[in-house]
Assembly symmetry: D2
Homo-oligomer: 342 residues x 4
């Protein structure tokens, strides 16, 4: 059994990790920390876990995380980088669901995240946990930077096109839409039901932290810089990201075959039949990414539609997928979930 | 023109007052205060008011509210009672949309609201602003306690039955449901979209502040105490209250006629045809209360269905209705609104 | 392996059965019928099942349901009663998720459902599949009448009080609210998003088909008739029923202990701590019923709050629970699901 | 008073016309037709209109529409073209809210709408009712083709850029999102609450009827063909369209000034301050279009955000605006509406 600890268990990625790990046959959940809610039963905060999780939240100082085999950080940005070294030194493997280890260029990270990085040397050793790209490296990784939600949906949609070299990489457009759980379980006016409900808007058009992460990932595939316009929007739904991706084709290609072949071995990327329109609910609660590729009116613009559940493939599910790979388990262990529809 | 000031214009009742007053032909909006947002243009916080309201939020200390003819308090509980006396002394009329002047029994108020009342003598002079009950008193009132949202929907449903003496007043049940805007524009986790959306729950079953207000109002009609079980619930919608009311009939009566006659002269209470089921959206954005009365299977239980828009008839609209009465205007001035459906 | 067939797989209870059965270790899904959609891949209609279900919908005439060990009817009312006898005669066990076998008094059934019953003798042999009441009978049943969604939530809330004889059974009130999936996957204006969204209303106050079912069930517990006012409402959410139940206490009792003891051995009924307010989302996607019991202000009115997922414990989940009991499996096989929250 | 008739009053554009016209000081509503619901009181179908509209739906054969000054067609495509000539011949002016007269190239229309056009000569005489482009022609028009909802939002966003000649018109992208009311009040599974709620998807990526309408409108501004990729999506909200528009800048320009100057005289187009993100709710129930223009990271991609209420500026409101222009009234008569927020 893998002894697992979770740092920061009171947010949505935390409770989602619990939902997945509680039924994982190879995991023994050791400890869940919360500074503010230490002493509170986990299932009091999340009644969905009654009868399934009997732990109390533990203060980080008393958590003895070093006794775990693996620690997940489901914390705000800037926490994991403070604590990762000690855990790694103690032989604990670490998966950070926040952004601390995602950007290799430290100056870029510091600019977008507005803080000084505490351990640039660890960033260099971290593996970006997108299994469809980095599966081999993940197997032996000690420290995983779990990808962001938008970056997962956007990269999985663009990668086959970039890998095949069939689009103009200088003018990519990602029009992305996320459900409200993407904003986290934080007391804020902007994501109140009476504000975000029956409403839709773009945000962060001038610049969003996921932009450099996506560009880094795509550049890694292309082995050259990419030009990307990324516009995120807030959807009045709870779970789900839908990325609508646009690129200019530079040569004629059978797009459907290209995508099907690229992802033929991937359990968690589903290339839908030609003409499909994936719905966010078709992946609700599951680790799937569903993709459809279109070429409207046979023109030179390719349109890729990519959907994920932001809390699963976009966060906790991908983290468990990474854990499974790191520990030599079947990649879909505890992730064989039927999406909840309707 | 009535010179109007609004204290606390950054909440939902504040912006709703603005929506209604901006088109009111007899109102000149003088000042809107906000301690936290002084200096901010009102239409920056609420872009729906662009081109309609050009005022900035003003710090209360610089608001010169004493120059107004009427001041609305759209503030949290406990604010109006601190400021009302000075305004009244300066000849300004006051309508408090919060609860400071609603409960005549000061000890009851202090118990439910958890503070010492600052001006019990003013409570005695305040008029409870439910026009369907107190229209004559409102005409000459200097200080109005604008009713709560639940109390408006529940009282309007029960009053005809109590006034006619046809039910057992000792065992009333009000199962009430409110949209999320009823919780106000406050940063809180419980009313986040990702918490309150796609979800439903009761709350405050042990006791809710609107219970004593409803009981006081109904007792006033009956001229005797009533027994009431009041259970509020949180609906995943923005505007709307639906009260489902249950009482035991003590004598046979034509309920449809009783309700129609009771409200025959009321512009803002619509008794629907027998067999109707009023929808919250049928009053969305308007000052209407729609009511239907049922007697399932001809038994001795009467079921009343009563819907309002909590921000209009349950707050700002009723406040404007009270203002119209106080200033001798047609009661529906600026309230002749067609509900937004769908 | 249990060879299972599903008649009528294109509705919400059908796809929900598929969601649960697809991961059931003892079930071999043989056939899913649909008259209108014969030939269509199941996972084309429900992309959530891509990679999980490879069957096509089959025309009922070609389904060879007699080769199954168990057939679920996820059909409109009036279908199962036409086909059950032939299946039973062929040795197939039957679980009807519709209402054909729920009401023992045929004249009552025919009045509420507006048709002549095709096989009254089978009704007499059918077992009402509420395991918390009828577990022993279910074990040996050949034909199960799976309970309705409202009846499940309402009965589980009232039963402990009636069994203990502590309430006035003549004046029960059930104020129940259901999500829109309860109306089924049918093209109707009333349940369009633009009609049912951001809206709330009661319906069927004069009488609803679940009233006689609930009264029959409660009378069976009490061994005497009950008086019940049942008011259903339509919630703007997808899954979930919340029943708010009111009764008059006839003697003093520790309600919390009463409920905890009554349900102490039940895996799928969770009595929450005193003072709780169960949320519908706390059971989303799971077979749990969560219950809290209150006695507001210590008066003589007891308030029970009972929530279920209408498609799981209110339909497909309970059907699988019944199947597990009928076939001697652990009752929670394939039902050990963590609710999806948020 | 303008004598007005409405053909097809039972859909969302019909009830929205009623909402606006009922308070219009210069309109006398004469007749509302419905083939299926003749004889039904309008306010029985739409209780929001109780006390405001006392008409019954009238069968088209008995409507005497020729006695009206103006007839609105709020009908499915293909109806107005059958009836317009007789009305025009009788001296009645006509505004068609459907698509019958929108496309000047009849062969294009027939291809996209799948029917033979009944009166190509009238199409040639019809004026496309986008006042911001065609105000002068609308003043004297007898027959107005009221623009589609998407085309209104998309054209208003692109027009200033095309008129100024600052973008590459060959590779425009319009990523558009519409609320569910855009699908109309039709019994269909795809727009049920349980299908469209808590869900998001693209549709019609291969081709949507609004594509040729948008291209025609933009080509008219540019006086040359444009290349456009148009991807519509279905939002889980009731009212609102958000168009996110992308184009490549071909020369440096002060985008904010460009837009402000272009729309400086327009009452219903609000160019928001630089850096803004318009929300759909900021125009809910009103005839406003709000626009913001961005140039992310100072690159050569311009991003325009354009929001409207699809039932108002996207349909009934724009129709009333056209009527006001045609009859020499102030353009904002009956359209001076404060958006409903929250």
């Amino acid at each position: 059994m893998i002894k697992v600890g979770i740092v920061g268990g009171t947010g949505y990625t935390g409770v989602e990790l619990l939902r997945l790990l509680v039924l994982h046959p190879e995991v023994s959940l050791q400890v869940i920390t919360s500074r503010a809610d230490a002493g509170t039963p986990v299932n009091q905060m999340f009644p969905s876990l009654r009868g399934l999780v009997d732990l109390l939240f533990v203060h980080p100082d008393e958590a003895h995380l070093e006794r775990c085999d693996l620690v997940f950080f489901a914390t705000p940005n800037g926490i994991a980088m403070q604590q990762a070294r000690a855990l790694l030194d103690a032989g604990v493997r670490v998966i950070d669901l926040a952004a601390d280890f995602r950007i290799q260029d430290i100056s870029v990270w510091e600019k977008w995240y507005g803080m000084v990085h505490a351990c640039p040397d660890l960033v260099a050793k971290a593996v970006y946990g997108l299994p469809e790209i980095n599966r081999e490296k993940i197997k032996t990784a000690r420290l995983i930077a779990n990808p962001g939600c938008y970056p997962t949906a956007v990269q999985l949609g663009f990668i086959p096109l970039l890998a095949a070299g069939v689009i103009d990489a200088g003018s990519l457009i990602a029009d992305a839409k996320s459900g409200a759980s993407g904003a986290g379980r934080k007391a804020e006016i902007a994501t109140l039901f009476a504000e975000a409900g029956d409403n839709f808007k773009a945000y962060g058009v001038a610049g969003h932290r996921h932009l450099p992460e996506i560009k880094q990932g795509l550049a890694g595939v292309l082995r050259a810089d990419v030009g990307l316009t990324f516009v995120p929007h807030l959807l009045p739904l709870i779970r789900g990201i839908h990325a609508t991706l646009y690129a200019r084709l530079t040569r004629d290609v059978d797009l459907q075959s290209l995508f099907e072949q690229h992802y033929s071995g991937e359990a968690f990327v589903d290339v839908m039949p030609a003409g499909s329109h994936p719905e966010t609910r078709s992946v609700r609660g599951s680790n799937q990414c569903r993709i459809a590729v279109h070429r409207p009116q046979g023109g030179d613009t390719v349109v890729v539609l990519s959907v994920i559940d932001n809390l699963v493939k976009g966060a906790a599910g991908q983290a468990v997928q990474n854990m499974n790979i790191m520990f030599g388990l079947a990649e879909n262990t505890a992730l064989n979930i039927v999406p909840l529809l309707p």
